[in-house]
């Protein structure tokens, strides 16, 4: 046991050492905008301007408008550069400019090597402050977004999980796709995008900036002051959600000809900012390993299984099964969950799960865009420190905490099925409790 704990402890010692060195994350305010900055040794720089709110900012009938507006800010030209000039300059120095909107936030992103950071920042700042939404480019981008949506929907795992979420949360801000549909996207025009970006998104109170790269704080502050000091500032209240409740054992079925059927389930999860979240995340990881063992390795009831804690303002646990014996697989998954909740994890098992999670966390820290992502998400869902504190929070979690939260939160599941309907005909999903 001592050896096991020492491994994680060793990593934590090094993390603590990092916290005292010049590469520690820090946060400060520049011209009224919150900035989160992590210096690194690598030669790549990643910058994101985040915009809070996501689908809470607009109605379901406008699904996709924020994603379209942010992608358009990066791709459809600015007041100073035509879209072609912007793209040609990006090509010249291998600068990546992109934008995207999701359920809880959106962002415009710059990624380049530090040697060309000045050139990259010049384009990026213009995309954030003065996007022009040139009409021909807006048309092309609309087609690209529609195509990307359909490409994602061709992947059965993504389709099954997405259908489940949208159907289960119908009527809420999570009940429509932030990337939009052909129906909603076709009517969004240049004027609407401009109006949405300049009057809804471009607001210092809604925005914050995450920067990860091999640059100095002084350089960064100077650039932000120069580019963003004059941005508008209007009152903004962060959306605050209640913890959801998925308990109805409902099954949503869709016929699709596939070599294997896809089944997804959704269950309750604590909020990311809750002290229960990290123990729950560890518990779900342990349950995922048990589920794979029971259904795939020993039971031969499924071809593959997966579990995931989805981090959104309304978080949930997602379980996915691929099986051509769907009835037996679903019943088996419920049995495994019941047994898991009854027996729980032990010290040795939890330590091994912790090792896995902490090492994966460090692996992702090698990539500046992934670090930006973690800091940005943490800031939206709790605070940026959560991303940096994650290894310590994992280390401090006890067996008792994990076992308690798994019982407390997963009290029922909502199910979605994609595949051959005959294989699940007449099947009633057994309740968890």
């Amino acid at each position: 046991m001592k050896i096991l704990n020492n491994i994680v402890l060793g990593l934590l010692i090094s993390t603590a050492t990092f916290a005292q060195n010049p590469y520690a994350t820090r946060s400060f305010d520049v011209a009224g905008i919150k900035v989160i900055f992590k210096p690194t040794q690598k030669k790549i720089v990643n910058v994101r301007v985040y915009y809070r709110g996501g689908t809470a900012n607009y109605a379901a009938s406008k699904a996709g408008i924020e994603h379209f507006a942010l992608a358009g800010a990066a791709e459809c030209g600015t007041k100073n550069f035509s879209a072609n000039t912007l793209k040609d300059t990006c090509d010249k120095y291998d600068i990546s400019l992109s934008g995207s909107g999701n359920f809880d936030f959106g962002f415009v992103q710059l990624n380049c090597i530090s040697k060309y950071f000045d050139k990259g920042w010049y384009l990026f700042a213009d995309a954030v402050t003065d996007p022009a939404y040139q009409s021909h480019e807006v048309q092309l981008l609309r087609g690209k977004i529609m195509l990307a949506n359909k490409t994602l929907a061709s992947n059965p795992i993504i389709l099954a999980s997405k259908q489940l979420m949208l159907n289960t949360l119908k009527g809420t801000q999570y009940g429509f796709d932030p990337c939009g549909t052909d129906e909603t996207l076709k009517d969004i025009n240049q004027a609407e995008l401009k109006n949405y970006y300049y009057n809804t998104l471009l607001n210092k109170e809604r925005m914050f900036i995450v920067v990860v790269g091999n640059i100095t704080k002084e350089e960064l502050v100077q650039k932000i002051m120069f580019s963003f000091a004059n941005l508008p500032s209007r009152p903004y209240n962060k959306p605050d959600m209640d913890e959801p409740d998925f308990n109805d054992n409902k099954l949503i079925k869709t016929q699709q000809a596939l070599p294997v059927n896809y089944i997804a389930a959704m269950g309750n999860s604590p909020l990311v900012k809750s002290a229960d979240f990290v123990p729950f995340k560890l518990g779900v990881a342990a349950f995922g390993a048990t589920l794979y063992n029971d259904l795939v390795v020993n039971g031969h009831l499924a071809d593959n299984t997966g579990t995931n804690c989805m981090t959104t303002l309304v978080p949930y646990v997602n379980i996915v099964l691929m099986s051509n014996k769907p009835q037996a697989a679903v019943s088996g998954a419920i049995n495994t969950l019941r047994n898991f909740q009854e027996r729980g994890v032990n010290e040795d098992w939890l330590t091994r799960i912790k090792n896995n999670m902490v090492i994966n966390n460090f692996i992702s820290q090698q990539n500046v865009a992934a670090v930006t992502d973690r800091l940005g998400e943490a800031e939206v869902f709790a605070s940026w420190q959560y991303a940096d504190d994650f290894p310590q929070l994992v280390f401090m979690t006890t067996v008792q905490q994990v076992n308690a939260v798994m019982k407390k939160y997963i009290t029922g599941l909502t199910w979605s099925y994609l595949g051959n309907l005959n294989a699940i005909d007449g099947y009633n999903i057994p309740p968890l409790k």
């Binding site: 090509d91 087609g143 061709s154 795939v296 691929m322």
Partner: protein, 456 residues
């Protein structure tokens, strides 16, 4: 205690052997070759307290006769199960999770590797574990049945994606009866037909230090690692032969006539056009491999004539042109996501563009300079994630050479417009090619694609 201090303590406690002559490949990358032929590369990067260890062999789909298709991947999965030092598969898995070792395998056309990432202060245990996995595996029925199941299910999952079906059909057309030697996943038949005798024969053919590359990357020092490697892998017996000479890989037959095919699939929500040619090999035509990269990069620039004609015109929503560097004929591929209602017009424009590829005004000097700069920056970007970079190096070691990779940037400025034109004339323009269309049944019927998606 900081990690540096821990490393120093380990160094002082451990046996220190005299390292072989080292080659410094870059500021933080070092190489030696042991007497038994094992090539060892150490990449120093202290940005995170981790180390990645990768063992790669010149083996893979290209070395698999028909009944071996997919078996190299299964063999590598078996290496992570039972071995004589750590015991059963369960015992090995327990050891790995206890030590914080996160394992993975990948098998491609021309390389097959096992790698893991772990806390860097456990590297001594990690190297011993890699040695046991590679040199002393226990190939038993239980492990074989487990990996059969894993591979079969993985293949089934891939077959759910219509793009995989398009790519598979393209392999069959472009490589003919050698197509399995370009697809490491194998077929359901060969996976189920695997036996312990076949697995054992894979080991006996390819798994020797003189056919391997060991890469250690992370928060470690190269001198310390070279000593440890000598201590742990120095007694690994070489084969005494070059496996690729003893079991020569059959040559791929050239495509003799242009072929068109259609994959109709109800899950294909967006149509794809995939056009492919047989491209250059690093064995026979290294200069063309550089030209291929520069040419592909030029075509992907926003200012390229191809992008203007297809994407900016609205005929296509996306286009990608690529060459995969391989020692035995890399494919040149043009992938297009056409505007669903303009597939016919898009295809006509594609053919028109291909005919213009070697004309004097198709590519500008500025586009070539941009491509060279972007490829150089691409080199920097590849080194960002050290635990991934080990796999990139392994790929180049197997499909070209370590020198090829480290001299790549210096060779790019040698490529001029005339080289690009020669490359196009040698491999693309007026050469037989294969073209595939992936499309849903409704759109296929509506556009009557069979009437125009065919070789004339």
């Amino acid at each position: 205690m900081t990690l540096k201090k821990i490393s120093l303590t380990l160094l002082l406690c451990g046996a220190v052997a005299v390292p072989k002559a080292q080659t410094k490949l870059s500021e933080n990358i070092f190489q030696i070759k042991l007497n038994n032929g094992l090539t060892v590369i150490v990449i120093e990067d202290n940005s995170v307290p981790l180390v990645t260890v990768s063992m790669t062999f010149k083996n893979g789909a290209f070395a698999e006769p028909t009944n071996y298709s997919g078996l190299t991947y299964m063999y590598h999965n078996m290496l992570y199960r039972s071995n004589t030092y750590y015991g059963t598969g369960d015992a090995v898995a327990y050891f790995a999770s206890k030590t914080g070792i996160l394992r993975n395998v990948s098998v491609n056309e021309e390389n097959a590797e096992c790698h893991f990432t772990m806390p860097s202060f456990g590297i001594d245990q990690g190297l011993r574990y890699m040695s046991a996995a590679i040199r002393y595996p226990v190939l038993d029925e239980k492990s074989l049945n487990e990996v059969k199941s894993v591979s079969d299910k993985e293949l089934l999952g891939k077959e759910s994606n219509p793009v995989f079906l398009l790519n598979k059909a393209m392999c069959q057309h472009l490589w003919g009866d050698m197509y399995r030697r370009k697809m490491a996943i194998g077929t359901h038949e060969t996976i189920q037909g695997a036996t312990l005798a076949l697995m054992d024969s894979i080991q006996k053919k390819y798994y020797y230090p003189n056919n391997a590359l060991l890469t250690i990357a992370g928060n470690i020092s190269h001198d310390q690692m070279f000593s440890k490697v000598e201590e742990i892998f120095g007694d690994w017996k070489p084969s005494g032969f070059d496996p690729l000479k003893k079991w020569p890989i059959p040559e791929i037959k050239p495509v003799t006539k242009t072929q068109y095919f259609t994959i109709e699939n109800s899950n294909a929500l967006v149509p794809y056009i995939l056009i492919a040619w047989q491209g250059p090999s690093t064995r026979t035509d290294v200069p063309s491999t550089y030209a291929a990269d520069v040419f592909s990069n030029v075509l992907m620039q926003n200012s390229s004539k191809l992008k203007k004609a297809l994407v900016q015109s609205g005929l296509a929503l996306n286009v990608n042109f690529n060459y995969l560097t391989l020692s035995r004929i890399g494919p040149i591929t043009l992938t297009i996501q056409p505007n669903p209602l303009k597939i016919k017009e898009c295809l006509a424009e594609v053919k028109k563009q291909i005919a213009l590829f070697d004309t004097d005004d198709y590519i500008t000097a500025e586009q070539i300079a941009t491509a060279q700069r972007k490829l150089e920056i691409g080199h920097i970007r590849r080194e960002e994630v050290t635990s991934d970079f080990v796999n990139i190096l392994a790929f180049w070691w197997a499909s070209a050479s370590i020198d090829y990779y480290f001299n790549y940037v210096d060779n790019l400025p040698k490529i001029k417009k005339a080289n690009l034109q020669s490359y196009v004339r040698k491999y693309i323009k007026n050469k037989p090619y294969c073209a595939g269309l992936l499309i849903g049944p409704q759109l296929k019927a509506q556009l009557k694609t069979d009437e125009f998606f065919k070789a004339h």
